[in-house]
Symmetry: C2
Subunit: 277 residues, 2 copies
């Protein structure tokens, strides 16, 4: 097992590169190459990808050819670089519309945003990472990390912890392995033990807090969206800043957020089969 050396400014994609693909045949490897390009986060040269040492020259070359021909990558002949292709944007549009909670939750997010005047996040779990699928900005917006399509860590965000608390044992175990427990701020829970204790508290309370654990000055109150079986299928949060409000004030809104989470969950269960139109 040769350990892969990650580039310095690797973008956290929640997917170790050159590792996941193996075992799923050619398709898995090709998608892995796609992740490598995504992970570097910019247009890349053939040699840069080659230097990652995941695939031999000829193999990597053929994958890039295929992916480019398929529109999953685009090739810039002037600079000899590859970037992610537009076909992905098209596919993601469909993915967003059909696989996520976003379309169902849309009107509820609007409602919640109007009521609270704060930033609202809707997230789903993706291999131990938090994937933000929709967002409403506060009336007075503050630049923050999250955006639709972005991923973030689970162990130090409100939505992440809310979902972790309601995962199956196996899913939780797998997710925990993927947490970096990097100490983003002095408040970050940086050990599995501390996190487990917090998750237990969340299960009792029914909602999670972010006490400036990811970004200084940013606090939130998050609620899981639960399936009938009691498993987290997503999470909803109301986010603000310490300058503007307090955790207690945010918690006061938790009841309302739970109501809305319940309604989204309900619609999700029933809406799986849209009419044949």
């Amino acid at each position: 097992m040769s350990r892969i050396i990650y580039p310095v400014n690797w973008i956290e994609t929640g997917r170790p590169m050159g590792a996941e693909g193996h075992g799923d045949g050619t398709v898995g490897k090709a998608l892995d190459v796609l992740d490598m390009v995504a992970g570097l986060g910019r247009a890349v040269r053939f040699s840069e990808l080659l230097a990652l040492g995941v695939y031999p020259k000829a193999t990597l070359y053929r994958f890039l050819q295929t992916l480019t021909h398929q529109g999953m990558l685009s090739y810039d002949p002037d600079h000899g670089t590859y970037a992610l292709g537009v076909r992905l944007v098209r596919l993601a549009h469909a993915a967003w519309a059909q696989s996520s909670l976003a379309p169902i939750a849309r009107p509820y997010l609007d409602e919640l945003a109007a009521e609270t005047g704060e930033t609202i996040h809707l997230a789903q779990m993706d291999l131990g990472q938090v994937l933000y699928v929709d967002k409403r900005n506060a009336t007075r917006p503050v630049e923050m990390f999250a955006q639709a399509g972005k991923v973030g860590p689970a162990y130090c965000t409100g939505v992440g912890k809310a979902m972790l608390a309601y995962l199956s044992d196996e899913a939780l175990a797998r997710a925990l392995e993927r947490q970096s427990f990097h100490r983003h701020t002095p408040h970050t829970l940086d050990t599995p033990a501390a996190l487990m204790a917090e998750l237990a508290a969340i299960r009792v309370r029914g909602h999670a807090f972010d006490r400036e654990e990811h970004e200084p000055g940013i606090i939130c109150c998050a609620v899981p969206i639960l399936s009938r079986a009691g498993r987290a299928i997503g999470a909803l949060s109301v986010t603000s800043t310490t300058a503007r409000t307090t955790l207690d004030a945010l918690e006061a809104k938790a009841g309302r957020v739970k109501e809305i989470a319940a309604r989204i969950a309900e619609e999700t269960e029933s809406w799986r089969f849209p009419e044949q139109g």
Copy 2:
């Protein structure tokens, strides 16, 4: 050559299903399956995909397994359905940020939207279709994947025609083959000849109009974003309604739009290599 029978409510993805993938080996076929799921636009059963008659049972089954395992599809065990997976959303976010004009154009779109008070579209060409990569609504801000990522026809939209007019001969020929020339409104140019004449006029004028050719009451003025070589790499449009304004009034803003298009083009050329950070 067996002709594929398209389902009744097939969603235009700009990619004929079960046709493009062949010829690019296993990877192409797998991505083709992905397009099939995207094309149906909802969670689908194994048998529905099988009924499309593109792949034999066992083969299709294995593709679905692989794609699901890879997170490109998600499987709902309760209903036995497959939907596009969240990994696509994650990849697309990166794609949007790195391969499209959107991040560069962002501040300019804001500027243009503020100045004109009208709807602004930023589009790129994708296999003969128009792919909208960003948008500023007259009133409400864009939810990324809800709007960006949409595709539309090229022959009857302002941005589409603006780009077609500045495509290389081969690219234009390939794009023309993919136009349906469906008559959306009485004003739609519904023959290749009419379109060619219009494209010539656009080249003279330097900008394109949409004279209610796609949707009744909707008009726009579009400008191509040109590479140094004079090829269209995207297009920018100011859209409004006949109820609110006239084509002449929109044309009056064309000069300003061209300035901005030129600035976006300039930044694109120089910005291909972000610093190594």
